[in-house]
Symmetry: C2
Subunit: 155 residues, 2 copies
C-alpha cells in the first residue's frame, strides 16, 4: 500500500467524522447519566425513556437493538424497584406489556427533561442546529429500525 493511500485513508472522511461525533456524544451522555441517577443503570434509563407508552418486550428489544434476555433482566430490575409492572397483552397471551407506574412516569419525565439539558450542554448546539441535527437523527433512526431490525432478529 502506498504512502499516499495510507495518508488518504488515515485522513478523516465525513463518515468517520460523523461517527466520532456520535461516539463522543454517546459516551458523554452515558457518563452524564451515570452521574445523575444513582439508582438506575444506563439500560434502565434507556428503557424508561422508551416507555412513552406501554410496549411489549419484544418491541423494546428491537428498538434497543438488544437481545430478549437483556430486556428481561432490565424489566425485572425496574419492576422490582417499582417503576413498572408487567401486564398481560390482551392480544397475545405469550406477551407482556410493560407499563410505567406513577413512580416510573415521574422518573421518566425527570429523565426526559434532564436528557434534554444534557444534550444541550454536551452538544453546545443552538436551537436551529439542534433541530437540524434532530431531523437527520430521526431519519437515521428510521432507516436503522427499518433496515436493521430484521438483521438483528435474524440468527
Amino acid at each position: 500500500m502506498t504512502t499516499d493511500t495510507n495518508q488518504r485513508l488515515s485522513r478523516l472522511t465525513p463518515e468517520i467524522q460523523a461517527m466520532m461525533g456520535v461516539y463522543a456524544l454517546y459516551w458523554k451522555l452515558e457518563e452524564s447519566f451515570a452521574r445523575i441517577e444513582t439508582e438506575l443503570s444506563q439500560q434502565e434509563c434507556h428503557m424508561l425513556v422508551k416507555l412513552d407508552q406501554p410496549k411489549r418486550m419484544g418491541v423494546l428489544a428491537a428498538d434497543m437493538l438488544t437481545v430478549p434476555s437483556t430486556i428481561t433482566a432490565t424489566a425485572d430490575a425496574l419492576e422490582r424497584a417499582g417503576y413498572l409492572t408487567r401486564q398481560p397483552d390482551p392480544s397475545d397471551r405469550r406477551a407482556w406489556l410493560l407499563v410505567l407506574t406513577d413512580k416510573g412516569t415521574e422518573a421518566r419525565n425527570m429523565l426526559v427533561a434532564t436528557a434534554g439539558e444534557l444534550f444541550r450542554s454536551a452538544s453546545g448546539l443552538n436551537d436551529a442546529e439542534t433541530a437540524e441535527f434532530a431531523r437527520l437523527a430521526c431519519k437515521i433512526r428510521d432507516n436503522i429500525l427499518k433496515t436493521g431490525i430484521p438483521e438483528g432478529l435474524k440468527k
Copy 2:
C-alpha cells in the same frame, strides 16, 4: 402533575429525538462492527481508529472518555496481537506513545473504510446529508472535548 404536563413531557423533544437517533446509530454500528472483525473487540477497534498518529495513552483516555486502566488493557491486547507497539515518549519518560505497526495500520485502514460503508448503509443518508451531519457531529465533538474532558478527568 397534570395530564397535560405528562403529555407534554412524554412527547419527544428535538433533543430526545437527536439522542434516540444517536443511540440507535451507536448500537447499530457496534453491532455491525462486532460482526465484521472477530479478532478485535469494540474498544480495540475504537482505539485503532483513533490512532491516526502515535498518541499517548492519556490522550486516548481523554479522547475515548474512559479511565486509564481500560486504555492499558486495550493497548495490552492490541500489542499482544501485534497491532501496535509502545514506544517511550521522548518528551516525558513516564509516558508511552502507542504506535501502529504495519499490521495495525492495515487493520486501521480496513476499519476506516468499513466504518464509512457501515455509516452509509446504517444511516441511509445521501452525501449532502452526510456532510451536514458530519459538520454538526464535529461541532458536537469539539464541544465535548473542550468542555467534557476536565469533568472526565476531575474526581
